[in-house]
Each structure stands twice: as C-alpha cells, then as structure tokens.
C-alpha cells in the first residue's frame, strides 16, 4: 500500500489499495422490510467507499464478532451508498438483518462478474428471477430499461404473494414499458397474477428472446434456462448466476470451486453453455 495514499476522503474508491480481505466500515442508513424475513439495508461509507458495484456483483458483509457472508448488491446510489437485500437464515445473516440505522458493519468488494447489460442494447431480452434472485437482477433491469432494449420481459417467481420482492419496482418497470409477469406457487383467489412456476410462464410466452438472464434457486434456473432454449434462445446468450460457498472473494481459498471455475471470480454470472455440463455432475 502506498503510504502517501489518501485513505480518508469520503467518496474515494480506495479499497483496491488496501488488503483485499480487510472489510471497510460502512454505516447502515436505512432498513426496509421487504417480506417477513427479508430486509434491504442501505449502507453508506464511514470513510472510504467501495467501488460502485456493477449489476450482478456481490460484496462480503462482515458482522463483527460473528462472521462474514456474500450478498449480491441490489441497489447502487450516490456517494458510495448501496443496498443489500438479505434473508435471515443463519447466524451472520440474522445479525445483518437485525442491524438498525446507525449500526456499523464491515463490507469488502465488489466481486465477481456482471450481467452483460451492454450487450443487450436493442435486443429482445428476457429476465427470469425467482425468489431472492430478483435482488442481483434489480440493477440490471434498471440498466436494461434505461438502455433501451428492443423489448424487455421480466418474469418473477415467488413462493406466495407476500414473498414477492420490490413491488414498487415492478410497478415502476411496468410504467417504463417493461412486460412484467409475476407468478407464485400458490395463492388466494384475490391474487391478480399467475399461479405456477416461472418456467411455465416462460413456456407460455412462447417467444424467442435474443438474451436471457436467469437468477434464483438452481433448480428454477436450470428449468427456466432450458425452457428459454426450447423457445429458440442460443445457449450462449443465456446467463445465470451461480452461488457456492463464497468465502475469500478473490479466488484464493477455492471454497467456491465448480469444476474449473472459482465462482467468486469467474461468476457469479456465467454463461449457461459454460456450466451446463458442470451442473449435471452429482454432488457438485
């Protein structure tokens, strides 16, 4: 590290000059409940800011004294602010979800590959998101809507209507001309969307799409990717987001290995035809 480097200016992107494994202090400035067990926390840098995350990238979030988890960036704001949408499922994520405005956590990153939104300009794009999988796609959809695709279709799947993330964003995207379909696994009669899988919606669309982004549980991604390919999308234009046990974030520890890939570096966003065979291996 350059001893003369200015490491104090707010708004500088200096995390690449320090030990990449050292988290940088960030303050929680807002907590928004998304569902009963999912919240979106907005972070602002205490001093140094991380580089702005591109769509699909993730950060490592450190709850002091408890541990660290990877979380995809679901919003990027001004002055180094960013949002993380987290479900409480373990010790660290429970601690993160329990954070309140004013609390400080450590964050490092951003890491990983990005959704190729720039390649989608003027193309017919399908985005399929299942459950929390909408979080890593949220900024990608914003970019796609802003870039001007030829047509943008978003299919969102969730367990039930109460688990659908970002309802205000869904409405906003509709107002921007995005064709948004929401489907759940089961619902009361008053639900005004579909009931069934995201894959069934993709099949029902019955349309060819030039580019397809899919993120969600792996079973759902596999099924939706195959459905898109059946509809005529080239497998090389289907992108999925794969997660394994991301730990170091810098391709050193090997815990996120999938075949020849280290997903913290070579993913999480990967081309479907690059991982199709890897995902067929049992016990992967």
């Amino acid at each position: 590290m350059d001893p003369n480097a200015d490491t104090t200016a707010v708004g500088g992107h200096l995390s690449d000059l320090v030990d990449p494994l050292v988290p940088i202090a960030h303050r929680v400035v807002a907590v928004d409940a998304e569902t009963a067990d999912v919240v979106t926390l907005t972070f602002a840098p205490v001093a140094d800011a991380l580089a702005p995350a591109r769509p699909g990238q993730f950060v490592m979030v450190w709850s002091f004294g408890i541990g660290e988890i990877p979380v995809s960036v679901s919003a990027v704001g001004d002055r180094g602010e960013f949002g993380l949408t987290v479900r409480a499922v373990g010790a660290v994520s429970n601690a993160v979800v329990a954070a309140r405005p004013g609390d400080t956590l450590g964050v490092r990153g951003p890491y990983g590959t990005v959704w190729p939104t720039d390649e989608a300009v003027a193309r017919d794009v399908l985005v399929v998101a299942g459950g929390l999988g909408l979080a890593p796609l949220r900024t990608a959809i914003d970019e796609l809507a802003a870039f001007g695709t030829r047509r943008l279709t978003v299919v969102v799947g969730a367990r039930d209507p109460d688990q659908v993330l970002y309802p205000r964003d869904l409405q906003r995207w509709r107002r921007l001309g995005v064709d948004v379909h929401v489907t759940v696994d089961a619902a009361a009669r008053r639900w005004d969307g579909s009931v069934g899988t995201a894959t069934a919606v993709v099949a029902r669309l019955g349309e060819h799409h030039d580019t397809v982004f899919v993120c969600g549980p792996e079973l759902m991604m596999t099924s939706a990717a195959r459905a898109a390919i059946v509809q005529g999308t080239d497998a090389a234009n289907v992108w999925v987001s794969l997660e394994r046990n991301m730990h170091c974030g810098i391709a050193q520890c090997g815990r996120c290995q999938l075949g020849p890939l280290l997903l913290c570096r070579d993913g999480a966003v990967v081309r479907w035809d690059h991982v199709t065979e890897l995902l067929r291996e049992r016990g992967r």
Partner: protein, 160 residues
C-alpha cells in the same frame, strides 16, 4: 355461465388459432368444431366443481382460470392458473374421470367448450383424433407434473 350459439365457422377459427390445437389435422378441427360452442364466465364464477361429471372441457381463449383446492380447515387455495392457449378439464380422457378440482374464473373468461361425450365417441372411431388428443394432453400432463414437483420441493422456501 352463458353459452353462445355462434356459427361453426367462428368456432372453427377459434380452435385453429388456439395453441392447444396447433398443428392438428384440419379434418379433426372440423369435427371438433361441430361439438363445441362459446362459453362465457364472469369473474369469480365457477366453471366446475370437484366431483362434477365431465360434460365439457374448455379451451381458454380470454382471461385466467384458477384451479382451486378447498380443503377443510383452511382457506381455498389456487394451485395453478390456466391462461389463454391452454385447456382445463382433461380428467375425462382417462376412464371418464369426474372433475378433480374446483375451477373458477379469475377474470371474465371466454372459452370454447367442447362436449366430452362426443369427443370420446369420435376418438373411439378415429385413431388419428385419439392420437392427436393423447399427444396434446400428455404434453399438458407433463408440464403440470413438472410444475407440481417444483412446487412440492418448495424451491423458494429452501433458498439460502
């Protein structure tokens, strides 16, 4: 529910445009059109109840149809929606089973309703028509089985 008695040509065109019947031999479509009529169902009305005899099946043209389970001790639950281009009510094809679930119009729904007895008679005398139905219904059964399995594993509930 109301039934419209429109001309056979109108029904024949609707069948020809419907995804379920795509690619079907035109002669079979002509046969089916003579067994069918328009059926309209206002939102929240019933197309069928579980246990009803299988008199007609519906090719959905407009609106959403909900397949609903009403189990004692809990609120009714829609477990699948059927949309334009899909059909609802096919249990009759195997041993003339009655309707298996409640079926409710979630929007104002328009269907082409086809007489089950006459279709079964026609299938009995035409191997070609029987084969056309078998292939198409198997496609639907496979799709709904896939969906049911995905729902069974609660794919979103197990997210980490």
């Amino acid at each position: 529910m109301t039934r419209d008695h429109t001309d056979a040509g109108d029904i024949r065109r609707a069948l020809g445009d419907h995804a379920f019947f795509a690619g079907m031999d035109p002669r079979h479509l002509d046969t089916l059109a003579r067994m069918a009529g328009w059926s309209r169902h206002p939102a929240h009305s019933w197309l069928a109840h579980a246990g009803d005899p299988p008199d007609r099946f519906h090719a959905v043209v407009d609106g959403r149809v909900g397949i609903e389970i009403d189990a004692p001790g809990r609120d009714p639950l829609v477990v699948a929606t059927v949309h334009a281009g899909d059909v609802v009510g096919w249990s009759w094809f195997i041993d003339r089973q009655p309707w298996q679930f409640d079926v409710v119009a979630l929007d104002d729904v328009r269907t082409v309703a086809i007489d089950v007895d006459r279709v079964l008679d026609a299938c009995a005398s035409s191997e070609g028509l029987r084969s056309e139905f078998t292939t198409r219904l198997l496609r639907i059964v496979a799709s709904r089985l896939h969906d049911t399995r995905m729902q069974l594993v609660d794919v979103y509930g197990s997210e980490r």
